[in-house]
Symmetry: C2
Subunit: 239 residues, 2 copies
Amino acid sequence: MPSTSPERLIWHHPEPPGRKHALTRAEIVRAGIALADTEGVSGLTMRAVAGALGVSTPMSLYRYVLNKDGLVDLMLDEVSDEVDVPAEPGDDWRDDLRGVASSLWRMIGRHRWYAELVDSRPPFGPTTMRRAAFMLAVLDNAGLTPAVTYVSLLDNYVTGTAMSVSREIAMLERFGIGTTQDLQAYAGEMANDSLDSWLQDMPPLTADARFELGLDCLLDGIAARRPVGRRSRSRPSRG
Amino acid sequence: MPSTSPERLIWHHPEPPGRKHALTRAEIVRAGIALADTEGVSGLTMRAVAGALGVSTPMSLYRYVLNKDGLVDLMLDEVSDEVDVPAEPGDDWRDDLRGVASSLWRMIGRHRWYAELVDSRPPFGPTTMRRAAFMLAVLDNAGLTPAVTYVSLLDNYVTGTAMSVSREIAMLERFGIGTTQDLQAYAGEMANDSLDSWLQDMPPLTADARFELGLDCLLDGIAARRPVGRRSRSRPSRG
DNA sequence: CCTCCAGAATGTACGTTGTACACGAGACTA
DNA sequence: TAGTCTCGTGTACAACGTACATTCTGGAGG
């Protein structure tokens, strides 16, 4: 149906064979990650990455990473490798899913740009797909279906919550709105002022605690949908 | 703590008093919404909005909407008004929350750019806050705490799921990846090929069905945390 | 050693974006 | 009718991604 020819993805472009003093794809990706960690998404420009590598022009990078989207894809997949994914599902599917989701959550805490960028790119990196495969196996072993939907549900929950936290941080940094009083100032001006009383006892929950709470809610809901009398299901092994 | 002076928000800039042949803030916002509906976020440029209004230069708009972020804030709040928010909580907190979340979901379906933009802006529009106030009242009446956390949880779920769907659509449009076979082609190349067997029975669930499923999971989890023996709680009324 | 050439880095340039600034035309007030 | 305020315009700039042509360089063949 799409009339234009499809865009190219970095996964179809292997790194060019290196010579002596050449740049490396890994080096560029590392520099991009470091830059995004410290300067945020808006600081991640091709010129800045080139500058961080001591290279005078951004055009040098294009040989290695295809284009900026390619660099972003590689960065996303690189930090995805920091997520702990067991080799095999364990005894308790809840523990397995909680573990992966929490590890992803902590990774995003170290790389806040991840949540902002992941939704704009197709999630086809190898480590991302490894995580998905693990979660699918866990759900499948537990007989929880539709497994693909649940994986997407959990992944979206983690990144969505991280986005929400990022927005709160940005609100504080960019608009100076952080305290309950600040919020009341805004709320009082424009909205139903019954909001005030709720904002008064805003949750003292940390971001981590809110994350855990929502994750438990989701897992409860998934558990409630487990077909009765169906403890596990085995997959046909493939050659 | 922030050293730079905080950015200005549109909510502090009332519309300038109009004269005869002047533009209107509402007109500009409508044009922006129409443009984003048809062209997507990338098509939403100040020049394009000006062009759609028959105005020769984008600078004309700046008197009315402060800057592009201001326009986006106004657009977000304008379409938020399409969400059905009852005046008062009803009998069943689940129905109330489901209703608002579903209405928000349908609104985002009509304005896909909403999910992409809402996370980048502080949610201080009047209609957005009205929705939050209603959900807080519902949760509070039902004795479900921490209410603010649950509101954020539900809102994030809706927008996060919409983002996920948007990404799938973009994948189809931009990369030509839509069918199960396409996905397998990518998965097979780079990842654990046990993925293939799961992708084979990818969910025939529609986006709407997936949304409902996840929403029910969340509501189940929230219900499971309701303090026993605590049916409802009344708020002190305020002058 | 020198010569040569592919591979690597550079410099220049273009189109697009948001938006600052100064100007001029039109409409309301006196 | 004269003056002032409001509003739309035109020009311009910095920063972005990146296409293209050019220059540099390091290692192989003589």
